[in-house]
Symmetry: C2
Subunit: 266 residues, 2 copies
């Protein structure tokens, strides 16, 4: 199959890939970047229709990259070979592995979610750091939640650092972005209890029933949960803290609470 | 109090601070770097005798830095003011906050540990990434373990990224660096059960008794636990995984296991 080779750092495609690190050009084009062998592989496994795949053999780590590129091409992606220098320019990782794809963004609404009879959901409010959102996605995947609902987002789900920190789990965990008000109403209609995590709670997370239809609700890094969720939640729980008050960040608190729910639901 | 002002990027102190990012010069000088307001404050709170404190008001974030500098000086640290450019050179953070101290390294052996009647320990083997070791320190602090024992270390405890990722908890959690053999013998002598975490275990961590004298043993990022610890452990446990096999990294697996122990030990 014919593959165009790009060596110029001034090539319009190279310039566009650099632009896609920023949100506005991403949203205008309706696409986002997927960098790395593992991430591209997971996108293909989940049936994501990659539009373009860029590769640079001089950066390959020997993961059978040619087969992955062929697979992307067979699924409809246009392939481009980049010189070492050109790839260094488009890569956002410090140590690139020679693979970068462009994937279409998607939008999922609450109405698109397929719920199990006993829904197990994670709701996060206004998370600021892409790395935390990515780590939370990994935790949600590991704990087997039905979906992650991101309320009033501050960081963009399609930020390259979310994709990276999620190790590609972004493609397997259903994620909905929505406002807090409609999410709360939607949970209520379905009889799903909202359990808010806050250091001010009286009850420990381990002493609270997390079985049945439940949504664990986590606040933002800096401000914690908003008054809206604190007021609207059906229960509030806290994690016992033996050390410094800030030793648990939101990603750590999330994984602790999710796996306590997994234990109880076990 | 007189404070020397440094503006030259060629100043020997500036050059030495840059060198201290690397392990050999650190070990030769027997010191390490503590960057950031929160980290310096925690070092002082824990009675660490800072040798030098470098500051640059143009980088301050308004955290009452002058009081902290005065406190460091009162505790015996020599203070130096740096120009904006000089501080940018010595800072290892992307967004420095104008504070950097030099602290003496310490060595703690197994014999130095003060154990509670029902010891609760965390043992990690050959952790490679400083960021993971720092996060594990935060988890150990939050869970209230008596000590962290680092076996056969690959990363240096005094790496600037460990200090940073630990948010200064390095100064409050007792940490011992030792070889696996002596650690295993030491645990046995004291009747402390070694519970190894491995994906190959039959029992879930939640179905295994983690009360009483216990040491949770975690393996390295890439290789997991060595045959030594798998063979020598008193029990093996695994965390249930709903999603991708690699969704839980070692820092995440550690925090889940530690907080299950906290729950059981209640």
């Amino acid at each position: 199959m014919f593959v165009e080779k790009i060596t110029s750092l001034q090539n319009p495609r190279v310039k566009q890939l650099v632009k896609l690190r920023d949100r506005r050009p991403r949203d205008e084009a309706g696409v986002f970047l997927v960098e790395g062998y593992r991430e591209v592989r997971r996108a293909l496994e989940k049936g994501v229709k990659l539009q373009e795949i860029y590769f640079s053999p001089e950066w390959f780590l020997g993961e059978n990259e040619p087969a992955l590129i062929a697979e992307a091409q067979a699924a409809g992606a246009q392939a481009f070979e980049l010189s070492k220098e050109a790839f260094a320019k488009v890569a956002y990782r410090e140590r690139p592995d020679g693979l970068l794809a462009v994937a279409p963004q998607w939008k999922r609404g609450l109405e698109d979610l397929a719920l199990k009879p006993q829904p197990f959901l994670l709701v996060v409010e206004a998370i600021e750091k892409p790395g935390n959102l990515g780590t939370i996605l990994r935790s949600a995947d590991a704990a087997g939640v039905d979906a992650l609902i991101v309320c009033d987002p501050v960081t963009d789900l399609f930020n390259p650092n979310v994709v990276r920190a999620s190790t590609g789990v972004l493609f397997s965990v259903p994620v909905v972005v929505a406002e807090s008000g409609p999410v709360r109403a939607w949970l209520k209609e379905r009889g799903i209890r909202a359990v808010a995590t806050t250091p001010a709670a009286k009850e420990l997370h381990t002493n609270t029933d997390l079985r049945g239809p439940v949504a664990i609700v986590m606040g933002s890094e800096q401000y914690g949960l908003s008054d809206f969720w604190l007021k609207e939640s059906d229960a509030q729980v806290r994690i016992p803290m033996a050390g410094q008050a800030d030793s648990l960040n939101v990603a750590m608190a999330t994984i602790i609470t999710l796996f306590e729910a997994v234990r109880q639901r076990g």
